[in-house]
Amino acid sequence: MANYPEDCLYTREHEWIRVEDDTGVIGITDYAQAALGDIVYVELPSVGDSFSQAEPFGNVESVKAVSELFMPVSGEVIAVNEDLTDSPELVNQDPYGDGWMIKITISDPDELETLMSASEYEEFVKEEEKGK
């Protein structure tokens, strides 16, 4: 049973963002890591890079496929999880904690309105599953 922390907002591409003031920490959801399978590599941007909402900021490689990572909201990267270089499996083990990917300054807080809450995302995942 996938888990959906209440303190995050979610995208339709299965990223989460945990907002603190004007910054946000971003990763992929428990559902996403389970669907991908064993993660072997995470390619992340550099500190200082800026991205718009929905723009790909990196990719995550599992034994099955390489998938893009999309920005939940626009912003500038202020930190990158260096631990994932040597231990990409952290994304599988602790997607909402040690498996975080980047930290950004949020440039347009209004964009947060377009994201889903935990319960909305749970509903969304159920619909996705039905479609399979």
Binding site: Y41, E43, E61, S62, V63, K64, A65, V66, E68
Partner: protein
């Protein structure tokens, strides 16, 4: 794959099954003006015996390497091929195999590729090797694109001593991608790059050098690597004659970041220019930007060793336009030939073949240089190719040799206008000493007949 013919009725049934009325419905996305509306204009069918006779007639118009003595190199080399190779690759399991996506039924093919990669890593001195690309020139173009992905820069310095056709292929690949290609000229005396004249900048993705170079000369790879690395650029080393690696220091130990080349010398026949074998090897830290795929070694849950396609996740059938490469030709049968060749010779055998090439080329070059009207164009150490300068028309000299069933070399004027009075001569282990002497005798006649 089995050949299963199907009748018109069965085809109609299949079309109905997928809800179409006619096969042509499948092609509807293709604009009308590009679609073939009439049958192909082909001559009438012929009996198999007539077709075979026709091909025999056509084949007789060519001269094979067996009927001429070959002094042609320049990227395609006439080396001895052990009979073992043909016998082994003719096993249907190898030469009818398809991409080994399913490891459970492809262990033999996968293990062969794994061994090929291991051998290529050993002779180039690199960490990882790709499971074979289309040929040497496209492998170079792929390496240039790889350097751009790794450095996020688009300026590339190409040595003028890199095979001219390889440089053309790089131009074709990069034409629409906003690359800035600069040519680094060679020293007119040495026929090699003067490393101090190669000036990479902080915008340079890679410096590309070939060694032995197109003129046969050994380049100062180490100094070029330092110059590239000083500004964060990569050094790409091209090897069109990998037999040279039996004697030369591997590019990996001279600071190369990516080694590419043509593997045809390793047991692959000349075949009028193809199919050949693109080599690409690099450092482990660059592996995720490497085009194509590698075969990896893994262990199942019982601890048994097995082989499996690795990094295929970045190939085009999964990543589409975001793939590391859109070449889908993995020359696995040619890679297998190369693996068998290298295993047959072993390190000692490869050294021996390389040494014979070196000695025979040195012998012929010395004999030619003593002839009036002929000289060696460059002062440099060379492997099995060298450039001859003549005071007579080059084409006349080569025609004269051809009359004696000797393909004497490659006129260089077509590639290097300043070398209009020169031709490139290659000597491999296949040419006996009598033939080297005969070559010199024909040139002697040529000089005395004027």
């Amino acid at each position: 794959m089995r050949y299963i013919p199907n009748s018109a009725e069965e085809r109609a049934q299949m079309v109905r099954e997928i809800g179409l009325s006619d096969v042509s419905d499948l092609f509807r996305p293709i604009p009308e003006k590009f679609r073939l509306r009439e049958p192909l204009r082909l001559p009438p069918a012929q009996a198999e015996s007539d077709v075979l006779a026709l091909f025999r007639r056509l084949a007789a118009e060519n001269a094979s390497a067996g009927e001429m003595t070959l002094f042609l190199g320049a990227g395609a080399y006439h080396h001895f091929i052990p009979s073992l190779i043909d016998a082994l690759i003719s096993r249907a399991e190898f030469y009818t195999s398809y991409t080994p996506y399913q490891p459970e039924i492809s262990q033999g093919t996968l293990q062969a590729i794994f061994e090929y990669q291991t051998l290529i890593c050993q002779i180039t001195g690199m960490d990882v090797a790709s499971a074979a690309l289309y040929d040497g020139s496209t492998a170079l173009a792929e390496a240039v694109l790889m350097a751009e992905r790794l450095t996020d820069r688009r300026h590339v310095i190409l040595a003028a001593t890199v095979h001219p056709e390889y440089r053309q292929v790089v131009q074709t690949y990069t034409k629409t991608l906003g690359f800035d290609l600069t040519l680094a000229d060679y020293d007119r005396e040495t026929g090699c790059l003067d490393p101090t004249s190669v000036r990479p900048t902080p915008d340079t993705a890679a410096v590309v050098v070939q060694s032995p170079n197109f003129f046969g000369g050994i380049e100062d790879v180490e100094t070029l690597a330092e110059r590239a690395h000083d500004v964060g650029a990569l050094l790409i080393v091209v090897v069109t004659e990998p037999i040279s690696l039996g004697l030369l220091r591997p590019p990996g130990s001279c600071g190369a970041d990516i080694v590419v080349g043509e593997g045809q010398s390793f047991g692959v026949p000349l075949s009028f220019g193809g199919p050949y074998l693109g080599l690409l090897a690099t450092r482990e830290k660059f592996v995720r930007q490497m085009p194509g795929r590698i075969v990896g070694q893994a262990f199942d849950h019982q601890g048994r060793r097995g082989f499996v396609l690795t990094l295929a996740t970045r190939e085009q059938f999964i990543r589409r336009e975001k793939a590391t490469s859109n070449i889908c030709t993995s020359q696995e049968l040619c890679a297998l030939m190369a693996a068998i060749y290298l295993c047959t010779l072993g390190p000692q055998g490869l050294r021996e073949v390389a040494f014979q090439n070196l000695q025979k080329a040195a012998y012929l070059s010395r004999r030619i240089a003593r002839l009036p009207g002929f000289s060696l164009r460059f002062r440099h150490s060379f492997f099995n190719e060298f450039v001859v300068r003549t005071n007579r028309p080059v084409n006349q000299v080569l025609r004269r040799l051809q009359q004696e069933k000797i393909l004497g070399g490659l006129a260089l004027g077509q590639f290097y206008p300043e070398l209009g009075d020169c031709f490139l001569v290659c000597v491999t282990e296949t040419i006996p000493r009598e033939e080297l002497d005969r070559y010199v005798a024909v040139l002697e006649q040529e000089t005395s007949s004027s």
